[in-house]
Symmetry: C2
Subunit: 333 residues, 2 copies
């Protein structure tokens, strides 16, 4: 568990896209985002107060979060001096970089000396159990996709926002690095040992109030040759009561697999439901979430309407139109 | 890759079942099994020559294989002195124990000093790639099961034996610790990091002669809530041309999951084929392998005949009746 609130470190971000972790925190957990810190050459801006480390500490910040990808895969000397200063001022550091903080000798030594935590969220810190498949109290929704990176994290976050706005109990459950940094907790599923994947998702979504919904971030796709096993562990460990089908139109092929076409939403519905009903016979497909970011407003609405008619399910682009209809579909279960 | 041939270490095996790894090597790779070494209180016997370490070295043995489970989960002092002696005599050591050889300070130091290898086959030694889903040359069979531990390894080994006896090119591909110790190579899939599972199976079953069959050991079950993700990685990484359905009748519930019934062979056929055809549209289900070890000869034959009629597929207990019919079904593809 990463202590909040955060100071968002934007470093020398080459462009706004490089700072997408910071953007995610700003968008989804604004109450965690107290300020930002930018270095020479930074081309990203979260429209948060620029702060020194000392000012951030004065505002109650607990953790500096690296909200940016590092250039060339190295943690540069310019970054280092800020990170060391943060540790010395009493902050922890959290990172989703491939280069682990703990492998930087100077950071590791300083953190140890001062008793600070270095959170490398790519690496599991928990010894997860083997899944036991037992029914848990509370409700769970899982976002499943026709492919990787079609909007499963944003779908779950949008549904959380809509449910909370309606006064309902809902918790986004992160299963990837960005989601973990946004919320401060979760399971880095792609780095979990095979035998413990489903168990890690049971651990992430424990017994809860009968009217509470866990909104589980999906990963990969049952149809993706590289990552389908990870996805199935989510379906069987998550034991969902509801599935939302996620899709991005107009992809030429599965992400990273030029020889593979995307499945239809109908094929996703049938296979995901078959798989989910092995662990929860009452599971239902409740809606469709489309990522229409490449379309005009008119195109987006027309496309959603067309898919809704075809599938007979509430269909929205939740980031664009809100997720109220998906939230209502969950409540109707 | 573990160097052969082997001296099989039976230790102080409480009973024959405790030495099932040694039994597997003796049954399936008799040419690797030069001799055995037994300690005070050993209740297992592979009917191999009992040898001292020095005698084994004289017979050309390269590796001492721990073919027995350790009592109480500790490597006892009585074992230690034999293992140290083996290293000093020039042997490597291979083990599938949960306690890793490398974590025993005295063994690790001695192996390092002498330049010997300690093979802990529970732990991957390769940095596997992400799966790319590309079609590979050669043919592949995968054993899939209604549950864990229903005979998938034995099925693949039996088919290998039958194909080789008929002069065909075939290689058993181990995906679990026992299989790896039997054959000296393979992927310990349950210990692989989630993102690399399917890639590890592509690595295990590379391009081969057009008329060569890889016979891939299955793991878990698509219907097993704890391990289904591991199974799906095998289906998608293995890209099988043929599936054999494995089943053990009369189980009260899924292994380790009292709340779950076993699926029917029909349900396994449909789901496994749907999954396999995502990566290989030409994949076929070619036969059924039943573990009838709890039945009389007459019951076993009657049950196989009944399932064969019901499923319309060649159906055998391959360990009991031979796997020739399954091998022929592969050749017919």
């Amino acid at each position: 568990m990463i202590e909040t609130p955060y100071l968002l470190f934007l470093g020398d971000a080459a462009d706004p896209l490089a700072a997408k972790v910071a953007q995610g925190i700003k968008d989804w957990r604004p109450e965690f985002a107290v300020g930002q810190i930018r270095l020479e050459g930074c081309n990203a801006d979260m429209k948060l107060p620029d702060m020194t480390i000392a000012e951030a500490v004065g505002k109650g910040v607990k953790t500096l979060v690296i909200g940016v990808a590092n250039r060339g895969g190295v943690i540069s000397p310019a970054w280092k001096s800020v990170l060391i200063e943060a540790l010395e001022a009493g902050l922890d550091i959290a990172s989703g970089l491939h280069n682990l903080l703990r492998n930087e000798a100077d950071l590791a030594a300083k953190a140890k000396e001062l008793g600070r935590s270095l959170h490398d969220v790519r690496i599991p810190t928990v010894q997860y159990p083997i899944a036991n498949g037992k029914k848990r109290s509370g409700k769970r929704m899982l976002a499943v996709g026709t492919d990787c990176s079609v909007g499963k994290m944003y779908t779950a976050l949008c549904v959380e926002r809509a449910m909370r706005a309606a006064g309902k109990k809902a918790t986004f459950r992160a299963t990837g690095q960005t989601g973990i940094l946004i919320t401060g907790d979760g399971v880095p599923l792609d780095a979990v040992i095979a035998d413990f994947m489903a168990g890690s998702i049971e651990y992430l979504t424990p017994d809860n109030d009968a009217d509470h919904w866990d909104l589980i971030e999906g990963q990969g796709s049952l149809f993706h040759a590289s990552y389908s096993g990870v996805t199935l562990a989510l379906v069987h460990g998550g034991q969902p009561d509801a599935l939302v089908l996620c899709h991005e139109p107009n992809r030429p092929h599965m992400r990273g697999l030029p020889d593979y076409q995307l499945p239809s939403l109908e094929a996703l519905r049938d296979l995901a439901l078959t798989m989910a009903q092995i662990v929860n016979p009452d599971c239902k497909v409740v809606g469709v979430s489309l990522n229409t970011s490449a379309m005009s407003d008119a195109e987006s609405l027309a496309y959603c309407a067309e898919v809704e008619k075809r599938m007979g399910l509430p269909t929205v682009d939740p980031f664009r139109h809100g997720a109220e209809r998906l939230a209502e579909a969950l409540e109707a279960i």
